[in-house]
Subunit: 214 residues, 2 copies
Amino acid sequence: MHASIFKMGAFPYLSKLEKIKYKPVSVREVLIEMKDLSELMIDLAYSATLFNSRDLAEEVLELEERVDNLAYLLHMNTMLAARDAEDAEEFVGICKVATATNKISDAAADIAYLVIWGIGLHPIVREAFGAVQERLMRSEAKSTSIIVSKSLGELELAARIGVDIIAIRRGKEWIINPSEGEKIVESDILIARGAPHGVEKLKQLADGTLKELG
Amino acid sequence: MHASIFKMGAFPYLSKLEKIKYKPVSVREVLIEMKDLSELMIDLAYSATLFNSRDLAEEVLELEERVDNLAYLLHMNTMLAARDAEDAEEFVGICKVATATNKISDAAADIAYLVIWGIGLHPIVREAFGAVQERLMRSEAKSTSIIVSKSLGELELAARIGVDIIAIRRGKEWIINPSEGEKIVESDILIARGAPHGVEKLKQLADGTLKELG
């Protein structure tokens, strides 16, 4: 009783036909993740444009695929959970919200494609996205960094340097809004938000060039 | 030589046929406004759902119409500004970004419609949008409020109570990211962002129940 559907990616880049298998998921958790991811993706897409970063743009596209998959899972799970008309009425709102977050994630991908295709870097676009520069940074935790093997709770980055780590990419896995207990692992890609001074400090800490927390 | 096109609203609520007349605008300013509005609208749409506020939802729909109109103006202005193939290549990126911000604003409107139609208030949706509660507030500046006739620079709300006024609606006009010199006028609708304690204080100041700044 494994439902499955075929999904055709909205963009040539993802145009491989991919089979999405039903699996039971928590609708609550999926919706929260979709919402958090869609907001993160907008910031990442702006940053990708601003820094002309193909890396960041590709991360947006990976996330877009993830959000797409989450949307399918959410829709399949609500279908199977609905037992009567009342359930259906309640769940339709959840599906509409999921569709809206998916639309936001599509918009972020549209922006990311401009970077992949090498267009859209007109000064006007950079200026429109300028405010993002002050709030987002991407860096990799090197083996020599003092933050590796420490938990976010131990590091207290918000209190010490005014920076929040809002997402960690570990290989193919994304940890969005990581908890206090999350430990940083070598090669983690950290996405952080904060004032320019703070994010610069975190970059140096992650690089291993700065050896102590202020 | 006034170009004009007809626009059919994407939703029944706005399905009146509305004529959009060409007028010269600054592409730069329009793009920045579209981006700022689209981000504001997402926050407003989440808040509208969370507080089940028809008022906020209707503000999102008004903004959606504004963003739609800005998108048309931007596209018409880039068309007329492009003199050669090089211009066209440069401007196409701007148009793609404008289209993406428009998509984000459509998603915000989709969410706002759930409030207008009275659906989508499932506890799971509220939970997904929960973080917004801590960052956004809407209040009206009453005639008895001490903040009326004061400029944002004088009020120093960020330093004093940790709150930023990110938008003001004055009748039909929206002032997004108001400057320090902007004076608050009686009946202004203030949209503010900040910690729960701070936004509560601003609400009381705007209501006229709190008579001094902390």
